[in-house]
Each structure stands twice: as C-alpha cells, then as structure tokens.
C-alpha cells in the first residue's frame, strides 16, 4: 500500500517493521517471538484506531485512494461481465459504468459510479462525478434489465453530480429526477450498495432500491462536508465539523432505522486492505437480498420499494 491516511500511519509503520523482521529471519536468526509480539501490538492498535474514528476520518476512509471501486467489485464478484456505453443522445459518461454479468449463474445488470486511481484516470472518470449522460445511460440500462427480467445491482461512490455549465444546460436536474421516478417503477429487483461516497443527488440517481445497504466505512449525505461547510460558515475547510453535524456514517444512518437494510462489515482496517475479502462479503449480502426479492412478484417489488421510501420521514403532527 503506497497511499495511507494520517491516522493509518502508525499502523503502516508497525506493519512495515513486521515485514522487515520476517525478511531478516533465516535458519540461524529467529525473530518469531518479536514478530508475534508486534503482530499483537498491531492488532490492538488497529482495533483502537478503528473503534474511535471521527466522522471526518470515516469520510476519508470512504474516499481512500486504494478503496475498491465499482470495477473492482465487478472483477471479484461477477463473471461474464461486459460493459455497455452511451446514453444514445449525447455521449458516453466514464464516471458511471454500466453493463451486464452473472452473479454466480444468475444474469444481472450492473450500474456504478467509477473513480480513477491515478491522475490521468481520475480526470478521465471526472473524479466519479457524473454528467447528465451518465444518469441517462444508467436509466437506459435499467430499463433494458427490466425488459429482460434481470435484477439490477448498483454501486454508489460519487462526491456528487458535476457542477458544470454543460451539465446544467443538458438538464442534470431533469436527468436525476427522471431516474428517481423511473427507478421507483421498475418491476425487477434493485439492490443498492453504497461502497464509498454517497454524495447527494448524484448518488441517489442510481440508489432507489428494494434493498439499500452501506459498506461499514462508506458515507451518505445530502451534501459533501466541504459543501456544507461552505454554505454554513463560508469556509470549505471546516469539513470535519460539517461531517460531525451531517451524521453521515453508516452507523449514523443505520441508527435512523428507515434508510438502510444492512451495514456490510469490512476487513480489518477497511476495504482497501483486502479488495477480495471485501468483495466476498458484499457478494454474500447481494445473494442474500436477491434470494429474498426473488420471492416477490413484479407488482410486489414496485410496492415494496414504494413503501420503503414512503416511510422515510421524521415529522411531528
């Protein structure tokens, strides 16, 4: 791992030491006692750090540069994958990938935001911020899935919709709104997994599901902490405070009771430490939810999804 967050640093250093001791171990020199001791220390430290994360630290984990992205989950979870491109109106949007594959034997459609790892790919993927074409491509593919009776898996990981002139001119508000309305009417199972950043309307545009689950270190909010801070205090640098106020972690959102069905546990130290293990857990949850939803008729799927979102309000009357 080349990239690490500030609060991961002591762990990274300790793990490095353990690796060095292993490398020095020969037939004549035995460090196994020291290694064991350090491993114990590392496990304890990891536990300490990760059970006391602030909301801002968890936001940083959700944005971790080594975190698995949609195409990583596709690689580890699905077979027979092929990607499809374009909204048939304007262009293809690389910030949102769509395609078809199999979950074990089951044919399905996959929709997900896609971020880039290196600078070049980040720019190509527009940092995972879709333009209207992305939402329109996603809707095209979702309605194709409906046509063929395929379940839909979506993976949410975006800072939000792209605030650009073109995005506004081509109606990103309309594109998001249309997805919300049309997703509500889909007659096939829709299972949503928030894998990293669930950023505002750009996230929700592919997140109207029968089941909605969040990875342990993912976040989901109406606005980014930086955007929130810019509005509240005219100071985007106060993101850490805004993160606290927005209560955006999977734990916070789970505690509201009406938004998500599951929090998916991540490998120790976060999904970025072990993509395959993280994906294996996600796969279990996808299969569990799919089995359950397969028992519902098309009409029941629409109604279950409607009632799920219908229940989302806290009011006094």
């Amino acid at each position: 791992m080349q990239f690490f967050l500030d609060f991961e640093k002591p762990l990274v250093e300790l793990d490095q030491k353990i690796r060095e001791l292993r490398d020095y171990t020969t037939a004549n020199v035995d460090f196994s006692a020291d290694i064991k001791k350090l491993e114990k220390k590392s496990a304890k430290l990891r536990d300490e750090i990760f059970s006391n994360l602030t909301r801002w630290q968890r936001t940083q984990l959700a944005r971790h540069q080594v975190r698995p992205y949609t195409l990583d989950y596709v690689k580890h979870i699905f077979t027979d994958w092929f990607e499809v491109h374009g909204d048939r109106n304007f262009r293809d949007d690389p910030a949102l990938v769509c395609g078809f594959a199999r979950l074990d034997d089951e044919p399905c459609a996959i929709i997900g935001h896609q971020k880039g790892r290196d600078t070049k790919e980040k720019v190509y993927r527009n940092f995972g911020m879709p333009n209207p074409e992305g939402y329109r491509k996603a809707l095209r593919v979702m309605q194709m899935a409906e046509q063929f009776g395929l379940p839909i898996f979506t993976f949410v990981d975006t800072p939000g919709a792209f605030p650009g002139i073109g995005a506004e001119e081509r109606g990103q508000a309309e594109a998001i709104a249309r997805n919300l309305r049309e997703m509500a009417a889909l007659t096939v199972p829709v299972i949503v997994t928030v894998t990293g950043e669930g950023g505002s309307g750009g996230a929700l545009a592919i997140a109207v599901g029968n089941k909605v689950q969040m990875m342990q270190h993912s976040v989901y909010a109406v606005i980014s902490p930086e955007g929130c801070a810019a509005i509240l205090w005219s100071d985007g640098a106060r993101g850490p405070e805004a993160a606290e106020a927005l209560k955006l972690t999977s734990t916070d959102i789970d505690s509201l009771g009406v938004i998500i069905d599951d929090v998916i546990p991540e490998p120790l130290g976060g999904a970025h430490n072990d993509h395959a293990a993280a994906a294996a857990t996600v796969k279990e949850y996808l299969k569990k939810h799919l089995e359950e939803l397969k028992k519902l008729s098309p009409e029941e799927l629409v109604e279950q999804r409607y009632q799920k979102f219908r229940a989302m309000s806290i009011i006094e009357e």
Binding site: A161, F162, P163, G164, I165, A167, E168, E169, R170, G171, Q172, A173, E174, I176, A177, R178, L180, R181, E182, A184, A185, S200, G201, L204, A207, V208, Y220, A221, V222, I223, G227, C228, A230, I231, L232, W233, A245, L246, K247, L248, I253, L256, I259, R305, Y306, F309, R310, M312, S313, I314, I315, E316, E317
Partner: protein, 286 residues
C-alpha cells in the same frame, strides 16, 4: 412582506446611502434597480412594472392568485419539523425552526391543499421561500407526497409551485430521501394518467429541481426565475470560468429545452386552467 427584506442583496453601499427610502413605501427592484412605489408593485401582483421582474410572494398570496376564492382546503397545516439529528451550526436547527414558525405564523416551507381552479378541482402544493429558504426536509417531502396521493385519490390534477434553495441540510440524509419519495409518488400519478404541472418560480434549485420540479407533464417557469441544480457560485468556483449571460434563468432553460413555457404571473391561472382542461378532456372555462 418578506420579499422586501431580501432587497439587501448586492447594492453598492454608496448608492444605498444616497437614496433614502422610507421603509416599505418605496421598493428597489432587484433586477432593474429602479425605485418604485411599493403600492404600484403590489397592484401589479408583485411584478416590477418597469422590467417584469417577478418578486417572491408568500404561499398564501400565490394560492389567492390561482385558486378560486373561498375554495381552498388546507391539508396537514400542523405538520412540523423535528431536529432529530440535533443539528447545530451557528444556531441550533431546533431554534431555526422555532424562529421560522414564529415569523411565518406556523407551518413549514410548503402549504398544501385542494381547491377549485376555474371550478375544476385541483390539488396544490405551494412553497414559501421565506420559511428557511423554502428548503425541503421531511415535512416538505411528506406534505408534497400526501398532496400527490390526494390527487390520486380524488383523481384530481396536482400542481406544485416551487421556490426553494433545495434540500434542507439540517436533516441531511432524510432530506435527500424526500427527492426519491416525492418522485416515486409521481410515478404512481403518471401511471394513473393524472396531470402534474410544475411551476418553477424564483429560485428553484438543488434537490427540489432534481426531483418533482422537473417532472411536470408541463414545466412552467415564471419570467427571469433562477432555476438549476448546482448553484451558480458553486459552478463558478468549480470550473473557474465566468458563467454565460442569463445562465440558469427561465429564458435560458426555455432555450435549452428544459421548460415548456414561460408564463407571467398575470396569466398563470388562465394558462394552467386551459392546459388542465385539455389534459382532462373538459370543456374550456367560460
């Protein structure tokens, strides 16, 4: 009149000192900056007689303009917002709610109900920008959803008059979910073949635009209203370019195919009624 206080916007300080305006008697138009006798603006349905700028009006004033006199039945007038996240910035959300309720004399950022429009039964939801910037939290989303469901039940056309800065940050994730909830209700309305008209007034932005406000069978804008998803300041900061002339105004959206028509306040009721009578196959209003 709440909109009058808003005129503190970008006025050059020197100039504002020179012009001594007795409070309330004269109003400076936000758009053309003319100083106009307030009564004259009021008589003109709160539209600037010089430049046709449509000032923001309260939900009650709006209802009076489009619903037949004495026919309005308000629904859920007492539904109230809850500070379930204990949200605090410079002020606690719970105090912001209290202040807004006191200022507006109750309610929240939207007023809903049924009534007659030229004798045709309709369901309306009307935003009050003066209440926390017309922001949409649980109450707004719930009232609009219930209004749509009432339309379904009565088989009556539904109209929303938007004026909102978008989702209410203080309810974080639940505000976001109101976008999905209201849009899902519109899916049912559409399937039932009942008309939904969206009227976009100044300003309509953020999560309100990206849900029901853009989903009208007709999207109708008042002249010169700010309509968009991302705010102009955010866009400018992101792309570091100046925005084109008239960007995100009604006329710009009409050019780009996002709204069906621009209708002035004076003609709004007649036009809405005309369209609804065609969509519901009724004889035209006499």
């Amino acid at each position: 009149m709440a909109w009058f206080k808003k005129s503190k916007a970008p006025i050059a300080p020197v100039e504002s000192k020179k012009v001594q305006m007795p409070a309330g008697l004269w109003t400076k138009c936000k758009n053309c900056e003319e100083i106009i006798y307030s009564k004259e603006i009021e008589r003109n349905l709160n539209v600037c007689p010089k430049c046709d700028y449509h000032f923001r009006i309260s939900a009650r004033e709006r209802i009076d303009l489009v619903i037949d006199e004495g026919s309005f039945n308000e629904t859920d007038p007492d539904m109230a917002s809850v500070d379930f996240l204990k949200f605090k910035d410079s002020k606690k959300y719970v105090d912001r709610i209290k202040a807004a309720v006191a200022k507006n004399g109750g309610g929240d950022a939207v007023v809903t109900g049924s009534g007659l429009m030229n004798d045709q039964e309709v369901v309306v939801a009307v935003f009050d920008f003066a209440f926390l910037g017309g922001s949409m939290g649980s109450v707004v989303g719930e009232k609009i959803t219930r209004a749509i469901e009432l339309g379904l039940e009565k088989k009556a056309p539904v109209m929303v008059f938007s004026s909102s800065g978008g989702a209410r940050m203080q309810e974080s994730i639940l505000s976001l979910m109101q976008m999905a909830k209201t849009s899902a209700a519109l899916a049912k309305l559409k399937k039932a073949g009942i008309p939904f008209l969206s009227v976009l007034t100044d300003p309509t932005t953020g999560g309100v635009t990206a849900s029901f406000a853009m989903l009208g069978d007709l999207n109708i804008a008042e002249p010169k209203a700010l309509i968009g998803f991302a705010g102009p300041r955010v866009i400018e900061q992101t792309i570091r370019q100046q925005l084109p002339e008239g960007f995100q105004r009604s006329e710009y959206l009409l050019d780009h195919g996002m709204v069906d028509m621009i209708v002035s306040r004076q003609e709004m009721k007649a036009r809405l009624s005309q369209a609804l009578r065609i969509f519901t196959q009724q004889a035209s209003a006499s």
